[in-house]
Symmetry: C2
Amino acid sequence: MHEDDEAAWLAAYDPRAYAPIALTVDVVVLTLRQGRLSILLVERGGPPFQGRWALPGGFVKAGEEGLDEAAARELAEETGLAPTALERVHLEQLGSYGAPDRDPRMHVVSVAYLAFAPDLPDPRAGGDAARAVWVPVAGPHGGGTGDRELPAPLAERELAFDHARIVADALERARGKLEYTPLATAFLRPEFTIPELRAVYEEIWGERLHPGNFHRKVLSVPGFVEDTGATAERGNSRGGPRARLYRAGPATLLHPALLRP
Amino acid sequence: MHEDDEAAWLAAYDPRAYAPIALTVDVVVLTLRQGRLSILLVERGGPPFQGRWALPGGFVKAGEEGLDEAAARELAEETGLAPTALERVHLEQLGSYGAPDRDPRMHVVSVAYLAFAPDLPDPRAGGDAARAVWVPVAGPHGGGTGDRELPAPLAERELAFDHARIVADALERARGKLEYTPLATAFLRPEFTIPELRAVYEEIWGERLHPGNFHRKVLSVPGFVEDTGATAERGNSRGGPRARLYRAGPATLLHPALLRP
DNA sequence: TGAATAGTGTCTCTCAGACATTATACT
DNA sequence: AGTATAATGTCTGAGAGACACTATTCA
């Protein structure tokens, strides 16, 4: 048995087979700040891509943590959140990116994660990150014709590595997730109104939704939201009655789904 | 610049940060053999889990190949298929599995892939695999009441590592993929009949589908299938007219989707 | 000849979207 | 007071599922 183990060990340690690959996790953290979908970016403090913006992330601690743990740790470090606050954050694996030349130093494979968070405090710079900021995702806003031409904050930054691709994949995943899961509620406080929920969908999908139909649809999906009996303290600032308050229901999948227009 | 690069290089090479992690790809290859959904398994020729069945896979060649390439290479090696035959195989990333103790030797992270293939020839044992076989996936068959209690070939084999979990995730992904993509055609020859396509859905979903409604539904989805004008040479062995032949259409997404019952 | 199937037609129910309406609350 | 909104109601068309029917082929 010792001999077998030793042989296997040596085989596994063939340096050409594994040594020159490093493994990192990168996290696409999405939140809504002042109604705008925003993503957490850090400024790289050292080469390569020094001074460029990148996703928060870092190396997986070998032998100590799994991938999900590593992503949660990076998320906590970069946002400065207490573990309790992290419980309300949805974190899921997005995919792995491993082109041999994606990092000029060496072959680095990154496992990307996607996080949905309610409005989080300003991030703190940590580790090798010079700065950390929330950047609005200039989604396809205005949908129709001549909305005023806002600058596209995210598009203006040329992200490091292949992070632009990762962000694009993450946004597409997020848009899809809203269709068949109740994860839009992860962007809101524990109690929310239907119009607030609709604003989440409108911001992430970049489409205006019909208020009446959306309202009826959400209430008709079993387990999506639960009535709290309470009512919002303030009505809409532009007038109208105070909306009822709901909390997330027990459903983990929406049946039937809310399909994009 | 040289100094900066050197510093970064050294930082990246901190042995504790990366050295003890190995990276592999594992492939869940699904095909239909005699109408049964089957998965490709290899018998491990060495420890750990010697003699147990596992997914085909291997180490990523550092600095030489990306993840998709590595998966395609492992697929070709293990099935013994020519590159031309592989063009008809659908290959996509499933997810990454990286619990620190999933391999008793060391921390090994595996990027799992999912492949859909038309009926493939018998596999060849290669590399460190003692044997390679197609194993029927004893899906939830018979659906209703007392179907005869067949042995469950896949369930009887205790797979190595966490491969049982990977296979379960792969099957769930495959079931979902049939809903909103035309990938069921990847299990068939270039020309196929609607009843053959229905058999794919029934086998993977483990549900009987209504022949008439399925037929009408498939033809109503734009770009799903194209009529070849030809007709199958033989009718069903139990009687009935000869079915028309179709080929896969240009659609990459099904609108509207074929939802599971 | 008998039986099972390919393909089409019909009906009903559900659901999404367009539109209308009433009550409420902010400015 | 004026206005925008929350919430509900109504109508219509698309689509899924159940069922029926005909024509065709194999055993």
